[in-house]
Amino acid sequence: MKGKLSVKHLLSIRDLTPEDVELIFKTADNFKGILNAPIKKVPSLRDITIVNLFFENSTRTRVSFELAEKRLSADVINFSSSSSSVSKGESLLDTVNNLLAMKVDMVVMRHPAPGACQYLSHHIPAILINAGDGTHEHPTQALLDAYTLTQYWGGSIRGKKIAIVGDIRHSRVAFSDLLIFQKLGAEVCVCGPGTLIPPDMTSVGCKVSYDLDETLAWCDAVIMLRIQLERQDTAYIPSLRDYSLGYGLTRDRLQKIGREIPVLHPGPINRGVEISSEVADAPQSQILNQVENGVAVRMAVLYLLAGVAGG
């Protein structure tokens, strides 16, 4: 059986077909097996050089990508904007073209500007993976969230109700998650204070709620998001304490719904703000599963994109 993604780059969840997602998940299953073997490395990408271009801070995503690349035996170059010529005024395209002149095959990029990857994909020959572009998309995070829930429910998320709670306005994870869950046949509700929910959310076919308890009673799984203070130019909430009272996920709130639902969080978590420590460390918390699955899913994406002849 042969499997090829319908895309050359991974820029957005929007570009993927449900079959692409299924192929990524199936491949991730196999990589998960490899990650649990005594030697956790395969030689597939040994003649490939990948540059991790991070123009924004990141711990989890960068480490996860780097580990995935190394597990596949690729040569890895790490680049962060703070220690580079970007701070000397070089443009994005110049920076990337200089790196590509050194024969780099793939670029994994995080950038504060929405659409930065899309722009680059029109100008460079390398394979591109979007590791987060501003408030736009974070496709590999969405893939690993959907993969984690697919595994939790034993094979499919079709027909399930998933709530995304928190700073929807500034979250690229929320947008990518929404797209992938809908693509795979789940129902989505976004929940948060009115100031943190974009005004046109119902037009993309998802429910909107301003009441966390009501949302918890409705959903089969909940994804908690961090308040992105670094992206907020004005005050969207009165205070973190006030936000926490209204939208913080606590054990009491979860107990009130009378059934166990999986709790996800893309990290980094702010304990005591959007999620209490008891919930973050509870058995139903999928946070560390998400991190483990992240490496397998990223290996699958890298393998499938790099595997095309002449790609």
Partner: protein, 186 residues
């Protein structure tokens, strides 16, 4: 497409028994010995050999695992699309074990090379031997030979050896299929 039968059911069953007897001759009571079926097509054959061994030599214990070599192949980025992997399922370590690698058809030898690479993720075996049902002679691209072999055949490039098992819904059979204008693979 034309078919030529290599084994009918009876001859196939005789061959399976013969292969098991040969394994017993080499491995005695199968102490410290494991079977590894290669995904995807070697697995059904390996399962047959495993259950037949347990049936013919009651009391022996012989662990069985399934090995997928996709990520260890040498043709990555040389095809239109990457091959879809199958599950590796090995619940034991191979360190200091005697390993019997099992595949249905030996052709270029490249799958076996990948398998020897993939296998090392589970430890360093003390000894590895190869068991195949059909050896497509004179088509080897690497220095790989089978230690135990059901049948050796000479084939052309446009021929494909088809191994089918009753578990797949039909009956046990091994045939050569001749395909017109197509380069054979196996």
């Amino acid at each position: 497409m034309e078919n030529r039968e290599l084994f009918d059911e009876e001859k196939l069953h005789l061959t399976l028994s013969r292969l098991c007897a040969q394994l017993s001759e080499t491995y005695g009571d199968f102490e410290n010995t494991v079977l590894l079926g290669l995904q995807p097509r070697g697995v059904r054959f390996a399962k047959r050999i495993h259950s037949l061994l347990l049936h013919m030599y009651p009391g022996i214990e012989i662990p069985y695992g399934e090995l997928d070599v996709t990520f260890f192949r040498d043709d990555f980025r040389r095809k239109e699309s990457p091959l879809v992997a199958n599950q590796t399922n090995i619940q034991f370590l191979l360190e200091k074990k005697r390993v019997i690698l099992i595949d249905d058809v030996l052709y270029t030898g490249r799958t076996i090379r990948s398998a020897m690479d993939a296998m090392l993720s589970f430890g360093r075996p003390s000894n590895v031997k190869l068991l195949v049902l059909v050896d497509r002679n004179r088509k080897r691209e690497l220095p790989v030979q089978a230690d135990f072999c059901g049948l050796t055949v000479d084939t052309l490039d446009n021929e494909k050896v088809l191994v089918e098992w009753a578990e797949q819904g039909g009956k046990d059979s091994v045939r050569i299929q001749i395909r017109e204008n197509k380069k054979a693979e196996s």
